[in-house]
């Protein structure tokens, strides 16, 4: 169930956003897409989720090109959590997680569906919140609900767009640990967009650094996050600290 993309191009009208982007993620790996604002990080994630159709290149999952997989089938392979959009109407936590079963069911909800939902809600510590309305929850709780919905699809690949945005540090760590468990314990793949370089360094096996829609650097966090790369891509002078607790980027000043 390998996921790789090869030479993906995407443009909005005549404005190119992604230019021949390639990458590869194996089961059990977490890949984070990093880079400055407007370099196409979310666009790349949307292409992976097939919300946008790339104009060129291939996205291959499990040996099949995903644009050729029917949408219901694909929904069982990839779970996508976009940046929080306003909910039009209030659903309960249980109803929201149950929506993740949509690709698996026709109209009625079966025992299997409820089993999966119960298991996912246990993993995401949502059982106590089952009957609460979504709009009564905090940002961190909501994010866990959305990830639970994606996990209820029983996907191979989890796609997350800035899962830690607007979360406090405790919830950032909690969400990223849960996401890491999905990759490392269940041998799934995680592809996410992260802004925080230190969180990205700590929780990712691979980093993909984008600049102006192109891959600037790719590899392990230690390979990608060096002073030269950060200066070239972000225009920021930074210092790298390598400590027993981890690998840290200390931004100093813009250049």
């Amino acid at each position: 169930m390998e996921l790789f993309i090869e030479g993906v191009n995407f443009s909005y009208g005549s404005y190119p956003v992604l230019q021949s982007v390639s990458m590869e993620v194996k089961p059990g790996q977490v890949l984070s897409i990093i880079g400055p604002n407007g370099t196409g990080k979310s666009t790349l994630l949307r292409c992976l989720a097939q919300v946008l159709k790339p104009q060129g290149g291939k996205i291959i999952l499990d040996g099949r090109e995903i644009s050729k997989i029917n949408s219901r089938q694909l929904a069982k392979m990839m779970g996508y959590v976009p940046q929080a959009a306003g909910e039009a109407f209030s659903f309960t936590v249980l109803e929201t997680v149950l929506m993740g079963r949509k690709p698996h069911l026709t109209w009625g909800v079966g025992q299997k569906d409820l089993d999966v939902v119960a298991e996912v809600m246990r993993l995401m510590h949502l059982e106590e919140l089952a009957q609460r309305q979504l709009d009564e929850l905090s940002g961190g709780q909501k994010q866990r609900v959305f990830i639970a919905r994606a996990l209820a699809q029983q996907p191979q690949v989890l796609l997350l767009d800035e899962p830690t945005a607007s979360l406090d540090i405790r919830h950032q760590l909690e969400v990223l640990e849960l996401v890491g468990d999905f990759a490392h314990r269940q041998k799934g793949q995680v592809v996410m967009v992260l802004h925080d370089l230190n969180l990205a360094a700590r929780f990712s096996d691979l980093l993909l650094m984008l600049n102006d829609g192109r891959v600037f650097a790719a590899g392990s966090p230690r390979d990608v996050l060096n002073e030269a790369n950060i200066r070239a891509v972000y225009g920021v002078k930074a210092r790298i600290l390598n400590r027993a607790t981890g690998y840290y980027v200390i931004p100093l000043n813009p250049v």
Partner: protein, 373 residues
């Protein structure tokens, strides 16, 4: 170690059972709400049969309905009572029920697929289009056809109202498609076309001869007094088929409520879903409005009350809205024809009296998360 593991397994299976129980009790409650509404609808319909300008006893009603359904078991009823109940009241009640079902069901679905709580057949410009269509047929028809208008008039007016109502919805959707299906585009397009049609209606009123003007004003007020078995026979199967079709997409509409991108990821073809359900919902709503005239706010108020009662899961919300719409419209119509009996108030006035304050209440109480996008 082993003991610990099995203990935690028990805890896990217990919690799993809890989630299942939460789900099952939730469903059971929703079914009870639906059953209660069905009973309420039956009670409302029965009292609507009994009360009215010519008061008929419960016994007479049972006799008449029984005699026409099972002529072998009931003695033939009094001819006058029969004419009143079978010829006037029963078709009117059935038209009220089916109109309520149609407007409220269409409203619930439109709110869901456009992700906007302020949407209804009325606010999307459909009623405006239908009014213009009816006005055109009444004013031009009566002057062009003269005496012939009296015979083909009703269906000409209904046909024209349906055509304009339905195509307004399609036009609104078409405009939104060019500009992207952002919900605010749809609402603004609906409002703009509504203004255009109301200007058209004013122009037609201005040039209308006296007789046509009276017909037009009555049509615009909306009401169920023109009910007959022909209309009921046409609308009941049409509306019920439309609602069954819409119910099939309940899960897709649920997924869309979570956002377009999420819906696409869950395997929903959002464009096809929007177009398909919007066409069918518009078909049901404009077909009923064509015969009843403009009846405002049912399509807005009934789905919102239902959301409060039964939640947002469209598998239950759509049937609940249908029943709620039927109860509200039937009760309003019964009020409309009894409050000042033997005179009648147009039912649109009563539904607006209920609906407008509710609409304002929604605007004021609107929780933060209900955004326009």
């Amino acid at each position: 170690m082993k003991v610990l593991a099995s203990k935690s397994n028990i805890a896990v299976s217990e919690r799993r059972r809890n989630i299942k129980e939460v789900y099952k009790t939730g469903i059971a409650k929703k079914i009870i709400v639906l059953l209660t509404l069905i009973v309420l609808l039956l009670v409302t319909a029965l009292s609507a049969l009994v009360v009215g300008a010519s008061s008929v006893g419960v016994k007479d009603v049972i006799k008449v309905v029984g005699a026409s359904l099972l002529p072998n078991y009931f003695a033939p009823a009094d001819a006058l009572a029969e004419a009143g109940i079978m010829g006037l009241r029963l078709p009117r009640i059935l038209l009220g029920i089916i109109t309520g079902i149609s407007l409220a069901g269409a409203g619930a679905v439109m709110q869901g697929i456009l992700r906007n709580p302020l949407v209804s057949p009325y606010t999307l410009g459909m009623s405006g289009g239908a009014s213009f269509g009816a006005a055109l047929a009444i004013v031009l028809g009566s002057s062009l056809l003269g005496a012939g208008f009296a015979t083909v008039g009703t269906f000409l007016v209904a046909g024209s109202a349906f055509l304009f109502g339905f195509s307004t919805m399609m036009l609104v959707y078409g405009i939104a498609k060019i500009k992207g299906t952002a919900p605010e585009t749809l609402i603004l397009a609906g409002v703009a076309l509504g203004y255009l049609f109301s200007a058209g209606v004013s122009a037609l009123k201005y040039i209308a001869p006296h007789e046509a003007l009276k017909d037009l004003v009555i049509w615009l007020m909306g009401g169920l007094w023109g009910a007959n078995w022909q209309q009921v026979g046409l609308l009941v199967p049409l509306v019920l088929l439309c609602m069954v079709f819409l119910m099939r997409f309940a899960w897709d509409i649920n997924a869309l409520a979570a956002g377009e991108e999420v819906a696409i990821n869950l395997g929903v073809n959002v464009k096809r879903l929007r177009l398909g359900t919007l066409i069918v919902a518009s078909l049901a709503a404009s077909a009923t409005v064509a015969f009843t005239g403009v009846i405002g706010f049912i399509g807005l108020v009934a789905p919102h009350i239902s959301r409060i009662l039964i939640g947002s899961d469209n598998r239950f919300l759509i049937p609940c809205s249908c029943l709620m719409g039927a109860v509200i419209l039937l009760a309003s119509d019964t009020l409309a024809r009894t409050v000042l009996a033997p005179a009648e108030i147009p039912v649109g006035i009563i539904t607006s009296l209920i609906g407008v304050p509710f609409f304002l209440y929604l605007l004021l109480k609107r929780r933060k998360h209900i955004t326009m996008s």
